[in-house]
């Protein structure tokens, strides 16, 4: 990776990262905007997200899953160079229920980086004035030695790269 990276390049790189995750790719999670160290995503409403069909509520686990992906994506663009960082822990507060029939939106950002840990925070909403959840998630830095060679290059590869 050479030179400064534009937000557009980052958006494409993070989208490529999210697309490589089978679970979120199948659910159609899309990257809406990237302004390092913040990432924004959208999870389109679909009936499979339901946790309580009687009350018409999205499964709380959908929110944890989305926040894990989202905070993990923010880690990539918050570091000097992209590294593979597994989730150490995630804590989520459910502020109000997420309801059926509406897309979920989320934003996450890196708040602090040490040699070994990346600290992030995230939030989700359906109506921007009424957040449904907030979280903190910490990620372990495995170091450049444990990051696959060419990760950055793969994320920032030019058009025409086979993503399948």
């Amino acid at each position: 990776m050479a030179g400064p990276t534009s937000d557009v390049d980052w958006q494409r790189a993070i989208a490529r990262f999210v697309t490589a995750v089978p679970h979120t790719r199948d659910l159609g999670l899309t990257v809406e905007a990237v302004e390092p160290p913040e990432v924004r995503v959208r999870l389109p409403w679909q009936p499979v997200l339901l946790g309580d069909p009687v009350r018409g509520l999205i499964h709380g686990g959908v929110l944890s899953m989305t926040l894990d992906t989202l905070c993990g994506a923010s880690v990539l663009c918050g570091l000097p160079r992209p590294e593979v960082c597994p989730t150490l822990d995630l804590r989520i507060d459910h502020l109000r229920p997420a309801v059926a029939g509406e897309d979920l939106f989320g934003a996450a950002r890196v708040v602090h980086i040490t040699d070994s840990v990346v600290f992030t925070e995230g939030r989700l909403w359906q109506d921007a004035a009424r957040p449904v959840a907030r979280c903190t998630a910490n990620f372990v830095r495995l170091g450049e030695r444990n990051t696959p060679a060419g990760l950055a290059e793969a994320l920032f590869a030019g058009e025409g790269t086979d993503e399948s």
Partner: protein
């Protein structure tokens, strides 16, 4: 099926799986329930769409979180003294090991059931219960079910 029927079925082992199958996201993840001795064990299927990192490969950490929240909710509804609807307040998960794409099992412990709040712990492992892949804790608000009909 109304809420009263749901609770009635929840308290009968034979129907617990049918209840899990009524939760669309739990069915998508492939969660099943087994009675092992006196305790309930929940099982997460290693479906290809539950993968988070195809390079390792490893299950999606968020999928493991959703699995443990589902397990904790069902364990609480089955073991609680009274039939009240749990609403998740907060949830915290610690990832202890990478979760391979094999069956993941979980057991839950109802740590405290108060008048309004419940605290539940969940532990997930794969081949060896002595090597857990994740541990979680969660708080629920217990509210009375709405009147039938």
């Amino acid at each position: 099926m109304n809420r009263d029927d749901w609770f009635r079925r929840l308290r009968q082992d034979d129907d617990l799986q049918a209840l899990v199958d009524d939760i669309p996201y739990a069915r998508h993840l492939g969660i099943t329930v087994e009675a092992v001795d006196d305790t309930l064990q929940f099982v997460l299927a290693p479906h290809p769409h539950n993968i988070g990192n195809p390079l390792v490969p490893a299950l999606h950490g968020g999928v493991v979180a959703a699995f443990l929240e589902t397990a904790g909710t069902l364990a609480l509804m089955r073991e609680a003294r009274s039939t009240r609807l749990p609403k998740i307040i907060d949830f915290s998960i610690d990832y202890l090991r990478s979760a391979a794409p094999v069956a993941t099992r979980a057991e839950c412990l109802l740590v405290r059931e108060g008048r309004r709040l419940a605290n539940v712990r969940a532990l997930a492992w794969q081949d060896d219960p002595a090597k857990p892949v994740a541990t979680a804790r969660m708080h629920f608000l217990l509210s009375d079910p709405p009147p039938a009909g």
